[in-house]
């Protein structure tokens, strides 16, 4: 309850600002239409019009909510191609496109986290990798993903890889970096005294890794994974932009082609909800693992 009040206050403020902005940004269209028809609109009429336009510059929150509802529940339960009538998810619904994006995100995140983990282990244990890998990892993140994504897609398509793999590769490209940085920091987090202690036991490098470095790095790993999974989602969406074979990215671009702003916003919200769920899932895993290890107090 104590947490709910501030959250709801912020949401209410955002919705209020949004409504004011909706009226302001859509008023010009309403006035132009009225002038063309040769009528004069009162302020009340303008407000009513701006909140119910078919192709508004900025759709009102209730329009976005209605669009979201229509493209998920209504489409799947009553649509001709919906899951109830056809047995498969409708390719018009955001459930279908959200699932496409989610699966690419999950695959890319798994690849990225695994790669980041391996690179971090290499950097911590191998001096040559320590000196050579990090600058490249940093350089990789300075290249705009929008520029490199189409090239990844083209190169992979030329070797016969299409569909989920190119999107997952772009996801992995974005999500490995926070994991490398966080894990290197985490694996190096044990103090000198802790490493000395293991030396007094004549522990091997593998024992130092499994008994000290890895457990000590877990809090860092989870923090990195929260950043990484959000980046993986962005990567999957960017990977869907140039291909137009489904996914939230494809829906975003299609919406902007046809001036369907409500559709764009509905897809954006689906992406935001997905991101929240994914970060929440990592957080829940983190709490479960750390409690299991006795690290959560």
């Amino acid at each position: 309850m104590n947490r709910l009040v501030p959250i709801l206050t912020v949401v209410a403020a955002i919705v209020a600002i949004w409504y004011v902005a909706t009226v302001g940004m859509n008023a010009q269209w309403a006035r132009d239409q009225a002038a063309r028809a040769g009528v004069e609109l009162s302020f009340g009429e303008i407000v009513a019009d701006t909140l119910a336009q078919e192709r508004p510059v900025l759709p009102a929150p209730h329009q976005v909510a209605a669009e979201l509802w229509k493209l998920t529940w209504v489409e799947e339960t009553t649509g001709r191609r919906g899951i109830v009538k056809s047995g498969t998810l409708s390719n018009r619904s955001l459930v279908y496109h959200g699932w496409l994006t989610l699966s690419a995100t999950a695959l890319g995140f798994a690849i990225g986290t695994g790669l980041g983990f391996l690179l971090a282990v290499g950097i911590v244990h191998n001096r040559a990798m320590d000196l050579s890998v990090m600058p490249w990892a940093i350089a990789s993140q300075t290249i705009p993903i929008l520029a490199i994504a189409p090239m990844i897609i083209v190169v992979l398509a030329s070797v016969g890889l299409t569909g989920i793999v190119p999107k997952a590769v772009i996801s992995a490209y974005l999500s490995f970096f926070p994991v490398v940085v966080g894990m290197v920091k985490g694996l190096r987090s044990p103090e000198v005294a802790q490493l000395d202690l293991l030396r007094t036991y004549s522990a091997s490098a593998a024992q130092v890794f499994w008994k000290l470095r890895l457990p000590a790095s877990l809090p860092y790993l989870f923090a990195s994974m929260k950043v990484g999974i959000a980046a993986a989602l962005v990567g999957a969406i960017v990977g869907e932009l140039p291909v137009q074979q489904g996914g939230l990215g494809a829906r975003l671009l299609a919406g902007s082609y046809y001036g369907q702003t409500a559709q764009i916003w509905a897809a954006l919200f689906t992406a935001a909800i997905l991101a929240a769920l994914l970060v929440g899932a990592v957080g829940a895993t983190e709490r479960a693992v750390l409690r299991r290890l006795g690290m959560a107090q």
Partner: protein, 266 residues
Amino acid sequence: MRDTGPPGEPVIEAKDLGLTFDTNDGPVHALTGVNLTIEKGDFVSFIGPSGCGKTTFLRCVAALEHPTSGTLTVNGMSPDDARQRRAYGYVFQAAGLYPWRTIAGNVKLPLEIMGFSKAEQDERVRNVLSLVDLDGFGKKYPWQLSGGMQQRASIARALAFDADILLMDEPFGALDEIVRDRLNEELLKLWARTGKTIGFVTHSIPEAVYLSTKIVVMSPRPGRITDVIDSPLPRDRPLDIRDSAEFIEVAHRVREGLRAGHGYDE
């Protein structure tokens, strides 16, 4: 009941030991010309100001640092070999318990690394926890224990694999004086019961005098030994021995040694 092996046998022998670190500001003489013999069953304290080399000497014995001149033997062999044969347990200033392991899990750590069987691990953990008066705390996590109890657990961890030598680097330095007094008393009992040889680094004169059979007074720049005092106090020491004339006399001699070595004119 204290000594299991022949007492008086040299365990740690340093001859003209020196250690020089090369730094950007030129060489730092952490230790020079250190000659010292520690016998089996001794409780030896190293006292001196920061930079006198007391911790460095202990780290040399533990093969965590390697001397640049002179010879050092532990149980008649090199410190590295002695370590391989589990000659010593080391206790650091910070308890350094793993937060993700229970107290029993922490004590078990060296046993896992050294490859003791599961049954023997449990047996040993039970024994050493009772030795440091932590029976029943095995399932607790470190954060559930006070600082003093954590340090006792770290002593149990150093005792778990039954090394003959216990090296302690300011183990009670971060604790308040009341807890420290109690732990000092308990450490003496533990020493009497186990007959270990103990090397103990401290900043505190009363602590050094109360605990030790031999007090090594050291001074910095270069790190060296200025005095070695064989304590006339009996091995059995109640806390109030600290008010006796003998105690005060030894403490006085330590203080004089520190003052002479410290060189206020430098």
